[in-house]
């Protein structure tokens, strides 16, 4: 469209600025990849160099031997994030529906209360949280990482999903009620199917939150190696003497690859979903 047309110089300017911006965003990954391709001995002896001819995939083979449980850590990360997402959505969907549709006492106050949870991260409440998990005998189990994760993602989930559900036309529910459907039946068979795009978006956001922030709970509530997620597991590349940086980087990149591919498929929903969830109240 004419209004959006850029002159050739403007275009060059936009591309140049975008390049600088993306370089800032992607530099650590480029650098991690470069490190993962170089042998350890060369990494630590020479000064910084841009290019060297010693690139190989050796670290990607050795890392599985250095940290035998690496595959399990990668799996744990994805498993924990998935479990957190499923549990969060199960809890969030009915609550978001209540806030989107129903009028009840303490509605605004309780919603405010949920949102206030955003003010805490797990780090503030670690001490009593540790005791709660201990008295429920959940320490050193998957649950010790999953349950706190769920609790801290519930508020955002309710907030995002509520604005979706508000957009579903009420007439459909009314029609179901007139036909004699119960409230629960209507929620399950009318509202949820209609909300699927919103559920995907909110689910993806929750998954991102759950996947990105497992480190703190993992290092504090769990010391069983078999249960550790990837970010905590990577610390096994830190030895007594030195860090095998190249294998650590190789493992980090390999570990996030499956999730990155998954997001590649979902990114369309994600950007579209942010628009709907964040902008229109």
């Amino acid at each position: 469209m004419l209004i959006e047309r850029l002159s050739i110089w403007q275009k060059i300017g936009v591309y140049a600025a975008t390049f600088v911006f993306l370089l800032f965003i992607l530099m650590p990954f480029i650098e991690m990849f470069r490190v993962s391709l170089r042998p350890m001995s060369h990494l630590m002896t020479a000064d910084f160099t841009w290019w060297s001819d010693d690139f190989s995939w050796q670290a990607y083979r050795d890392m599985w031997k250095t940290v035998p449980l690496l595959g399990l850590y990668i799996f744990n990360s994805i498993f924990i994030a998935t479990a957190v997402t499923v549990l969060t959505m199960v809890v969030v969907v009915p609550a978001a529906y209540a806030y989107a549709r129903l009028e009840f006492p303490f509605r605004a106050l309780s919603l405010g209360g949920f949102l206030a949870v955003n003010m805490f991260t797990g780090a503030v409440l670690l001490i009593p949280l540790y005791r709660v998990l201990r008295s429920l005998s959940l320490l050193n189990t998957y649950w010790a990482i999953i349950i706190p994760g769920v609790a801290f993602l519930i508020p955002t989930g309710i907030w995002l999903l509520r604005s979706y559900l508000e957009k579903i036309p009420r007439e459909l529910e009314e029609a179901a009620f007139v036909d004699g459907a119960s409230r629960m039946y209507t929620l399950r068979r009318v509202v949820i199917p209609l909300a699927v795009p919103g559920l995907i978006v909110v689910g993806t956001s929750v998954f991102i939150g759950a996947y990105a922030q497992q480190f703190l709970f993992a290092i504090t509530f769990n010391n069983v190696r078999e249960i550790q997620p990837l970010p905590a597991g990577l610390y096994e590349f830190v030895g007594y003497q030195d860090v095998t940086w190249n294998e650590m980087m190789a493992a980090a990149l390999t570990g996030v690859l499956p999730v990155m591919l998954f997001f590649l498929f979902l990114q369309k929903y994600l950007v579209a979903g942010l628009t709907a969830g964040a902008v229109k109240e």
């Binding site: 650098e31 990494l43 000064d47 910084f48 129903l102 805490f120 780090a123 670690l126 519930i154 990114q267």
Partner: protein
């Protein structure tokens, strides 16, 4: 938000609105009660004790008196707010620039929008490990680049001196936070009605004028709410500092949350740690209330909501 009378009557079979609503909310509420509310009450109680692994005694306000008579603690509070303001400002500015760039009508924009996501969707800890490597003095990229451009003589270990460690941590925090801010701003920009731009364009308004007088005011509610969320997260940002410096060197990157973790978890002085946690919650609550007051006025000013 009122229900149409038609629904009200149709729903009058079975539970009342209120009972059904609370039934729907109760699972979420139970989670928050056990994992957030109860620990919060416990934290407040513990802050009045000298709890350690060994046991606990009620000591009144002693923990708070110790905190507020310690100049070091005020340094930490000051540092935390400085950390928050600087980092959030940078995230908003870089995010706004990024969103504007990604919103430009150029070939390849779909790809650029994907490329901005990685720092947001991968575990925070993993990106930070990458930065930690880049900051090291001997073979790190940053030191290498600075030498290349002749800005420094010899190598520099950015995480080893106080000032450079603080700003290095800021850069990493901005890096982690920017993609999400960018994507939210981008989404908001795409939600702005095209008619506004076209009307202004017909009237001869230039690009910069349209950005200033249409884009910014239209996305202001998103900027303002993103700023608050981002401020709270940045205030409580733990992993980034912990992995890069553990609060060092010599306390230069010790924010309140790091201080709390060190006292409560590393040295297991639960009572003293709890008092710090309570201070964090109180400061954030005051900050949020002041901010929401401001947000309310901005919203009214721009006619949103």
């Amino acid at each position: 938000m009122t229900d149409a009378p038609a629904i009200q009557t149709a729903q009058r079979r079975g539970l009342s609105d209120a009972a059904f609503a609370w039934l729907l909310i109760s699972p979420a509420l139970a989670f928050i009660a056990v994992i957030v509310a109860w620990p919060l009450v416990e934290t407040i109680r513990l802050s009045f004790t000298d709890a350690t692994l060994g046991g606990e005694n009620y000591i009144g306000l002693q923990n708070y008196i110790d905190l507020f008579s310690s100049p070091k603690f005020f340094d930490t509070v000051g540092r935390t707010f400085y950390w928050m303001f600087l980092s959030v400002s940078l995230k908003l500015i870089v995010g706004l620039i990024g969103a504007t760039l990604l919103n430009a009508a150029i070939p390849g924009k779909a790809l650029f929008r994907i490329l901005v996501m990685p720092p947001w969707v991968i575990p925070v800890a993993i990106g930070v490990i990458g930065w930690k490597w880049m900051y090291n003095g001997y073979f790190g990229l940053v030191s290498g680049l600075l030498q290349e451009f002749g800005l420094i003589e010899g190598q520099i270990a950015l995480l080893a001196t106080k000032t450079s460690a603080f700003y290095a941590a800021i850069v990493t925090d901005v890096w982690v936070g920017t993609p999400m801010v960018t994507l939210f701003f981008l989404a908001a920009m795409q939600g702005v009605s095209r008619d506004l731009y076209e009307a202004a364009w017909v009237d001869g308004a230039g690009r910069w004028y349209r950005f200033r007088r249409i884009t910014i005011p239209q996305i202001m509610p998103v900027i303002v709410s993103m700023a608050l969320l981002s401020a709270i997260w940045t205030f409580n940002s733990f992993e980034i500092i912990w992995i890069l410096t553990e609060g060092g060197p010599r306390g230069a990157t010790t924010t309140l949350i790091i201080d709390t973790y060190k006292v409560a978890i590393s040295s297991q002085r639960f009572g003293e740690g709890a008092a710090r946690a309570v201070v964090i919650v109180a400061l954030l609550a005051m900050f949020s209330l002041a901010y929401l007051y401001f947000l309310n006025r901005v919203n009214r000013h721009y006619g949103a909501k």
